[in-house]
Structures are given as structure tokens and as C-alpha cells.
Point group: D3
Chain length 244, copies 6
């Protein structure tokens, strides 16, 4: 398969249209529908007054994430994981990543012995669902903390920074930001970066799909990611200002 | 718990605001987001070119449904069925009902050896999710058939009628149409009716939650359901006209 | 398939031979083998001194039911659910129905914080297994309560009424009571009614297998069911008198 | 716990009352309800026209067994294995034993590429359920072969011998035949013997529950088992004569 | 298949080369790699300070065993049980046997309310894995008790005897000790004996694979087993002396 | 917890003692026991003559990996995944990584329609089990290909490069190579690198455990990894030369 050119209207270092629709769920303490182009992920943050057994009495809280995909989020329908009776390795890998990413910018001592479950359900998938889930999951989490602040449960929001994520890839030798599904399928290498609002690296996952890449190529992907993540962090701030 | 009065603006025989948002999924052959008040169900119809083993060589197709609820569709978060590793009895009961209801108005000989899977995922729940799923599932199914018609795969739409569904209940002696979650929780009896566009009965499920009811009370619920279903069928027709 | 006539010796409104063999299990607090023609269901009621977690401290008890079918209860052998590793949707639907039906005539505050598990195991199936299970399950439950009364655990039997159940169907336009397997397979509509000893309706489940039916046809099925249920309630009373 | 004496009416080398009720299931090719005292096991043999994949084309058939226990077969109710979602190690161990025992007396080349599934469901348990299952399973299997003979499917019955089984134990130093539940619970050693009609040994399973036993004690148990098995084989023959 | 002769260098009553490599695991309280010819089983004994719920407050401990096989322990690769999602009937049968055998020589009142889990993982299989597991499991268990003794947790080692196990079989009429995989596959009868260091019988499992065997043949197998077990017990003692 | 210094005998850029024991399994086409300090992983490569369904007829082969840990490979015993009935998210994540890494250096068109399953079972764990598994898995895979070459099944070995892997971490500001368990537990950031013999990057997984790290810190970890991987590749070559 020949490497496909981007449509002329999108540069290699350009994000797709990104948006956040806040408070889309009337029950969740925080919620957000995040769009990266055609990729849409519904994120809800649910606050529970109980921590896992291993944290009881520690004075600390916990944040965990779950990830799912509606059966027809994809080009062809996938079997429902609930019907198959187990979550795939991919699903578990992704939800562990989302959880780690959100915990990396949260002060777990700052919201009591509570657990916040962030559910990220992919309604439509066109590449980058895990990075959209992290970026939107942060927004839902922050809204949940704001809600607790308004109720007087918290004195301040226990977040130490923002967290955003983006995918990058090498396609026909070119480094590109924010791959859609078709680009992702034809990439020589594919990387997901989770960064904080101040460009600290939280997580890097880079995979050579076809041929190994070099140290400098990894560097070029990271530079691209930093640019994209700056823009995502800005978009998060704008969306949340509107909300507050 | 004392039986709660309806808000003055809704009569006992009045539906909540019902709406259909069509073609909400860019991959599914047919899709629809259906609203009954705050209850929102995303329905997609996926056409597959293979039937279950027991139908191979029969020349007939099959329609099946799956039902799911996002973890925070409800007031308090529910565990994800994929994580628990199995679908609850309730989920299975509902998806069997949706499948039977859709098959009841479809000519299974009319679309070749294909299987159509109708996924109904509850995004937000405020009572009546199964009846919303049937009513919206029909719209998604019909859109999938129209899509096949436009592609020339079908010569005509193999539907013999419309199908709609509504819940009714007895609350403090009063028969009410289209219960929301709070009404449903306090009902003495709760019934779901699946009717065709011409008021034929496809399915009745009536349960005395507290005290047994009488034959005439069942009759009064059915009369209410016929009124509501007439309006739902009209709403389906309007939505689909706009779509075609 | 042409609608098959009933054998001349059984009228459309006539039950099959119904019988109850009491105390068939030497360990269970209550037990009964119920026959509806060739359908045989073994029902046992087991009293446990512990309620589910959500009822602890409430002073109330709980009744739950489980349903199973021996592998060769049917014309051709079915796989054992224990071997397949899960209960089918049908099994779960039925056991939920049995449980609701028995709870509908029991005063849950009347036997302390205990749980009674009613197991209904189909030894031989010829149609109507769920309705036989409810009708026989009531007898097993009542015997368990009598046993507790004799032991002095209870002061009175916390049952507010009897509960019985029967299937009816439309076959070739004719409404028939108590379908056997062959009739059930060829029915246009199939309904299960759960009624109390005083003809109160506890549950109605009616399904159009082929073509939708009308409101008056549902009415005719219900009238038939009331007749059959009167006779079943009478048979329960006779069996239990012999027992006491 | 002190070793309990047998009731004076039963000698240490005496079986409990044993009986076979034949053809108790109207669908199974062969069936039998076997009694060893209060232990009752329902055995059905189901003939299927297909062998497991690894035997296809071999010209040989296969016999397999499944074992189950109704939840209230026992003094206190056990959870249903279908509900727990898996069969216990004990269940699997027993059904493997039953299958091996029946295959040991069958000519697997003598009934074509068919599989016979022998289901042994314990309706009431008072010790010795696995040995009763083998003894009754043989009867059900033989009846299934007779049925095939009558249909002309077989020219002769492909059984090379009878197979029977009995438990023995050491209690307070005394060797006893056919332990009931209470004896079994207090035994120092417990053994199950599967023998043919001509006293050939098919299987021995002997376990020291408390203290190890000696070679001569094993010998004395085997002698007891041979006596009991002779009587069981005679009882099988009588029951089957009546049946033919 | 013709019965294969033993290589001239091994007599029918001769064990394969048996060895124990002690303390092979740096974390386990006791560990041992046991060899019976090409069969290699890694045994670890892990001490936990908690007993199963049914023993709490009894002052007694418990010993349990688990058995596993690495996927390529065998001639052709077997699926991993963790991937298949359940342990086979064979696995469960074996681990129950190992646990019973170890408990038979342990004073469960002699090590407090602790649970010792003995894991037996087959690294390479060439027949006799379950008997090697018992023989090596005893060594691991004893080392764990010695470790507790050295720590001062125990005052004496709560073992009442040694326990060893060996397989024997009838091949072409000849009784042979310690079958390898190839012999086992062609045996007419196959037996596993678990004996104590003083030749007390703990467990006998004998199965006629092809034709039933006689009482005297069982006797001859048991005599062979006693000889082999004497040698195994001696080998255990030597290995453990070296260790202490 | 204060960052612990390395023992003076190991520099921050120094590997632990690494070794490969080849052909440790007599059945597997290729096998190797790999040591990284106290971490020991048993790797076997099993060749099967059948590919997954989606590759049939493609002329291509497939390589897949499975990962497991013996229950007492770790400081405190972990439950057996086969007993728990499912593989953890961590296990699945690791085995997907091993498979991708091995496929990255294999010409899948070069060994026919065969599947090679590489099993990596951790016998003892002291940090770095996944990187040891990749490094040892490569050796087992290569030995399997050599075996096929010797049998004449292959004309040349379809490997395009070596593949090795190493973990690095940031501890108290210092970048260190090849963390053991204790270092890993106290690291601020933890990264796994999979590189080819020519230093091409196959996979990078870097995670900030405590505080985000910078682009240049990631760079320093990668430089360390390149050094370690050069040495690992050299060690692989030496071990394999001895073997051939």
C-alpha cells in the first residue's frame, strides 16, 4: 500500500478539529464528549465514597479508568465485549494507560478516601481513540472536582497540571501529527505521547509497525507531539473556562 | 413511599417529548439516537453477509439485537458488563425482546441470507429504555433497509409494518403512560407493550410489583398503550420522511 | 405446518392431567414433584438463615428461584449449562419470573431475615415448564413454611394468597389452554399468565410468534387462563390438604 | 467422633436396598432411576449420530458421561454449578470415572460412528453417588443399545461384560460395604471399586482419610467389594430381564 | 501396538534415575526441582499467615496444592490453561490428589493458623508427573517447615511420616515400575500409589486401560510400588540430609 | 522512600550478569533459559503447521507469544492465572509486546504457512521479566529456525536482524540501566526499550511513575538502552555460536 498523502488542507503538524462538549450526562459528577475529527469519545467521571481495599485507612483516594467501544463505533461491527465475556488485551492495555495518565497529574491525597471512575466509551472511532480518551477524561475529571468544590466537599482542586495525549506516526518517511484510521493503518511507526500542560512527559509508547526507526526519528515525533499537546492543552483550558 | 403526582404539564395519557436523530453514526448502515424525555438510546443497524449456521442455505435472513448500558447511564454508576465478564439476566431478557419485536414486522425472506444486528446502547436512562430501544431500533433497521435499496441490494423494503413500544403503569390506582424512572420505581404495576403501526399486539409484559391487578386494569393499560403507540408510530413516520 | 387439532378427548379449554407429589425430597424443608401431562418439574424449597447483603438488618426475608433442565428432559439432548459455563438468557428469564411470582404472594416481613431458595428442575419437558414450575414452586414454598410452623419458627404462614400459572395460545385462530410442546411449536401466539388464587393478575407475558394479535384476542386468552388457574388453585388446595 | 455402629439389621458386608426403575424418561434412548438406599440417581443414555472430531472417519463410536447434583440433593443446599459458571473438580473427576468405566465394557467398534452421552443426575444423595451412577449408567446404556437393536440399527449389543461399582470403607478398624453418608464422613479409609460382571477390576480408588492403611486392609476391602459387586451384577440382570 | 520392551539396562522393577535439586527458588520458604528420568517438576511451598475462612479460629492450619504444566512440557504443545480460562478436569484431579497426600502425613494442628500452598509445575513431562509432584512436593514442604523451625516459628516439624508416590503398570502381562510416557501410552493397566515412608497406603488409583485386571495383578502392582517407594523415601532422606 | 544507591560493584550503565542456557527442553524446536541477574525466564519456541484462520492461503506464517509467571516466581506468592480463570491485563500487555517485537525482525513470508508460538514462563522474577523474555525469546526462535534448517524445512533463516530489550529508569535523578525489582519499585520513571541488533528502535514504553520527565531525560535513557542492547546482542551472538 502506497503511503497516502494528507488532504492538502491539513499539514503534517496539524491536529484535526478538536472539540469538547461538556456536561453531556445529567447524572455523572463530570462528563464530556470529546471529538478529534470523526473520533468521538464519551467520558464520564463518577465519584464513589469508597476506595479499593488496599487503600482503606490511608487517607488517600484513587482514580481508575475503564474503556469500551460501542460495537459499531468501527467501520465493520465488532463483537460486544460483554457478550464475549471478557475484555480484550487491547482494552485492558488502554484503560490501564488512561488511569496512569490521570493519576500522574492528580494529588491522590487531595480528595479524601474516594474513588473516581473515569469511563471512556468510544461512540465513533477514526484513529486516536486512546489519546482522545485521555484528553477528554481529564476534562471530565476536572469537572467532577469542580462539582465537589461547589458542593464544599473539596477546598481546592487536587490537580497538579493538565494532561493531554496525541498520536504521531511515520508515514513514507514523513512525521505526521494526529493520525486518522487510514493513516494509522499505513504507518511505518506509530507513537502515542501523554504530556502534561507544561510539556512534561508522562508516557511514551512508540512501535515500529514495519521497519525499526532511529533515535532521531523518535525525537522528531516527540517534537511534533509537544506542538500538538500545547494546542490540546489550550483547547482544554478554553473549554473549561466556558464551563466555569 | 407515597405515589407521586405527575407535574401538571403532563397528563396521565401523555408521552414525554420523543425525538429521533437519524444517521448519527457514519459507519452503520442505519442509525438513530432516540429520546424519550431524558432517556437516550443509540441504535445502530449493521448488515452482515452471513447468517447463523442454522439458517445457511435457507434463503432467509435473520435479525438479532444486543442491548447495553453505559456504566454511568444511571443515577449511580453500574459495573460494566464486559468487566464483570457476563451480561446480566436483565440485559439478556431485554435484547431477546428487542430482537423478537423487530422480527415480528420483518419478512425474513425478503433480504437474502444476511444478518442484521441492531445494537441498542443506553447513553442515559430515565425509565423506558427497552421500549425506547425497540422504537428507535425500528428506525435504524428501516434506514439500513433504505440504504440497501439505494445500493440496489434490495428491490423493496422487507418490512410488513412499523413496530413501536411503550411502558405504562398503575400508580396510586391511576393508569399512566410512559413512566419515567421515578414513577417506575413507585408503580404498583408496570407493563411494556410492543405494538405494530396498525395496533396489532406483538408483545405484552405486565408485572404486578406490589399487589395483583385485575383483568380490567390490564385492559385500561392496553388502551393507554394503543394511544401512545399511535403517536410513536406517527413520530417514526415523520422522522423517516425527513430522512428520505 | 398446518395447525394440529387437539385429540378429541381434550377440549380447547381443558388442562392436561395435573398432579402434585409432595415431600419427594428427604432433606428439603418443602418439596414437590409437579406434573402437567408429560411435563414434570421437581421443586424444592430450601430455607437459609441469611439474607442477601442488601437486606441485612431490615428484618425482612427474601425468596429467590433457580430453574434448570436436565440435559435429556427434552426430545433431543441439550448441553448441560454447568458444562457450558453459563446459564442461558432463557434460563435467567424464567428464574426471575418464578421468583417474582412467589414473592408477589408472600409477606416478606413475615419470616424473619431468612432466604428461601426455590429450585425448579425440569425432569421431563413437554411444554409449559415455567408455568408448572411456578405452580409447583408455590406448593414447595408452602410446605417449607408449614415445616417452619411445626418447628415453632413461625407463628403463621406468611402467604397472602396462592399463586398459579398457565400457558395459553392461539392456534389456527383458536384459543387453547395449557399447550403441550407440539402445540406450542405451532402456535401463532403464546402467552403465560401468573394469577393468584383470587384471579388477581401477577404477570402476563404474551408474544405474537407469527402475526400480531388483537386486544380482544388477548382478552380471550386471559379468560381461558382464569378458568385454568381456578382449577390449578383448586388442585393445589386438595394436594396440600392431603399433606397437612 | 466415635465410630458409629451399623444398625443391627445391616451387616458390614451387606448392601443397602438397591433398585432400578427402568425407562423413566420418555425421550432418552435408555434411562433408569437407580436407588442405593436413600441415594437416587437418574441416568439417561442419549445416542447422537456424530462423534468427537478426533474420531471422525475411524469407524468407531464414543461413550462419555456427565454427572450433576441437584442443588438440594444434599442435607444442606449446594450452589448450582450452572450458576457458579463452572463444574467443580469433584464433578469432573466423577464424570471422567463414569465414562472410563462404561467404555471399559463396551466394544467401541460395535455401534458405528455414534456418541452416547450418559447423564447421571443425583436427585438425592446419601453416600455412594458415583458408584450408583456407574451401576445405573450401565443399565441406561444397555437399554439404549437394546433400543438400537430393536430399530435394526445394531445387529448385536456391543457390550463385552456388565460393569458395577461399590464403595467400601474402614470404620473403627472394621471393613464395611456400601457406606451411607454418615459412615462415609467418619471412615478412616474410603474406597471405590469398579468391577465387571466377572469380577475383573476396572478401577480402584482408595484413600486414607485419617491414617494410612496396609496392603492387607486394601485386600479385605477388595474382597468385600467383590461380594457386593456380584450382588449388584445379579440385580442388574434381574432388572434388565424384566425390561426385555 | 505391540508392547514395547524396556531397554535392557532397566529392569521391570527398577526406577528411572531420580534426583532432587533443593532450594532452587530464592523466594519460596521451601523449594525443590525433582527429576524422574526426563520428567522434571518444580515444587515450591509458600507459607501464608491466613487460613481459609472455614478454619479461622480453629487453631489448625491447612495445606493445599496446585498443579500446572508449562505449555511445551509435552511432546506437542498444549494450550495454556490461563489462556483457555479454566483448569482441566485432569489438572483439578491431580492437584486434589497432591493436597490429600501431603495432608496425610502432616499434623495440621502443629503449625498454627497458616496455609501452605505447594505449587507443582511440570517443566518437562515424560510420564509420572503426578507421582513426581507428590514426591518432590513433600521435600519442598519439609524444607518450608525447616525454614520455619530455623526462624523459631515452629518448635518441631509437624510431619508424621514421609510421603512418596510412584506409578506402575501392566504391559503385555508384565508388571513394571515407574512407567515413562511411551510405556504409559501402551499399558493395559496403569496405577498410581501414594505410600508413606513406612509403607502405609495413602492412596491407590488403578485403572484398566484396555482389559480388566485381577485381584492378584493389583497385588503384584502394589508389591512393586512398595519396593519403588522404599527407594524413593531413601532418596528423599539423602537429599534432605545434604540440605540440612 | 529514599532512592537506594546501587551496590558499588555495579555502575549505573552496567547490565546485571546475563546468560543463556540453550536447548533446555527436549521437545521444543527451540528453547532457552535466560538469566538477567536473579530474573530467570524459560523460553520455548513451538512450530505448528497451521496458521490462524485469517492467514490461510496467504503463504505467510505467524509468530505469537505467551507469557506466564509461576505462582512463586515473586517475593510473595501470586494466584495462578489458570485458577483465577483469566489472564491479567498486565500479562496480556506483555505477551502482545513480545509477539510484536519478535515479528519485527522476522520475514513472515520466509517460513511457509506455519505458526511459531513462543512461550515465556518466568521461573523467578527480580525486575525486567518482559525484557528478558524478549531477549531470550529471540534465542529460542532462532534455535527453532535452525532446527527447521537442519531438517531441510527451510533454506535460510528468515530473520532480518536480532532483537533485544532492556529496562532503564530514573532514580533520584540518575539514569540507570537494567533495574532490579527493588530499583524498579523506587524509580521516578521506568522505560522499556526494544532494539534491533543494529540499534533500530522497535518499541519504546516509558512511564513517569512519580513526576513527569523531560525530553532530554528520555534521550538519556535511550542512550543508556542502546549501550545495554549492544551488549545483549553480543551476548546472544556468543551464546548462539556456541550452540551451532
Amino acid at each position: 500500500m502506497q503511503a497516502k498523502a494528507r488532504p492538502p488542507e491539513r499539514n503534517p503538524d496539524q491536529l484535526r478539529t478538536v472539540g469538547f462538549e461538556l456536561d453531556v450526562n445529567r447524572y455523572a459528577e463530570g462528563s464530556c464528549l470529546v471529538f478529534f475529527g470523526h473520533t468521538k469519545v464519551l467520558c464520564t467521571a463518577s465519584v464513589e465514597d469508597q476506595v479499593p481495599a488496599w487503600l482503606r485507612g490511608s487517607g488517600k483516594g484513587w482514580i481508575t479508568a475503564e474503556y469500551g467501544m460501542l460495537p459499531r463505533a468501527t467501520h465493520t461491527r465488532n463483537d460486544r465485549e460483554a457478550a464475549r465475556g471478557k475484555q480484550s488485551g487491547r482494552t485492558q492495555e488502554i484503560q490501564r494507560l488512561i488511569g496512569r495518565s490521570l493519576r500522574a497529574v492528580t494529588d491522590l491525597s487531595g480528595f479524601g478516601e474516594r474513588q473516581i471512575k473515569v469511563d471512556c466509551d468510544v461512540v465513533q472511532a477514526d484513529g486516536g481513540t486512546r489519546t482522545a480518551a485521555i484528553t477528554g477524561g481529564y476534562v471530565a475529571l476536572r469537572l467532577a472536582f469542580q462539582h465537589m468544590l461547589e458542593l464544599g466537599t473539596l477546598k481546592c482542586i487536587p490537580l497538579t497540571d493538565q494532561v493531554v495525549a496525541i498520536s504521531c506516526g511515520l508515514i513514507g518517511g514523513e512525521a505526521r501529527l494526529d493520525l486518522d484510521y487510514e493513516e494509522d493503518s499505513s504507518a511505518d511507526a506509530d507513537a502515542n505521547f501523554v504530556l502534561t500542560g507544561r510539556s512534561g512527559v508522562v508516557e511514551v509508547q512508540a512501535t515500529a509497525e514495519k521497519t525499526p526507526f532511529s533515535r532521531s526519528q523518535l525525537e522528531s515525533l516527540l517534537i511534533l507531539a509537544e506542538k500538538g499537546c500545547d494546542e490540546l492543552a489550550e483547547a482544554q483550558r478554553k473549554a473549561l473556562e466556558v464551563a466555569s
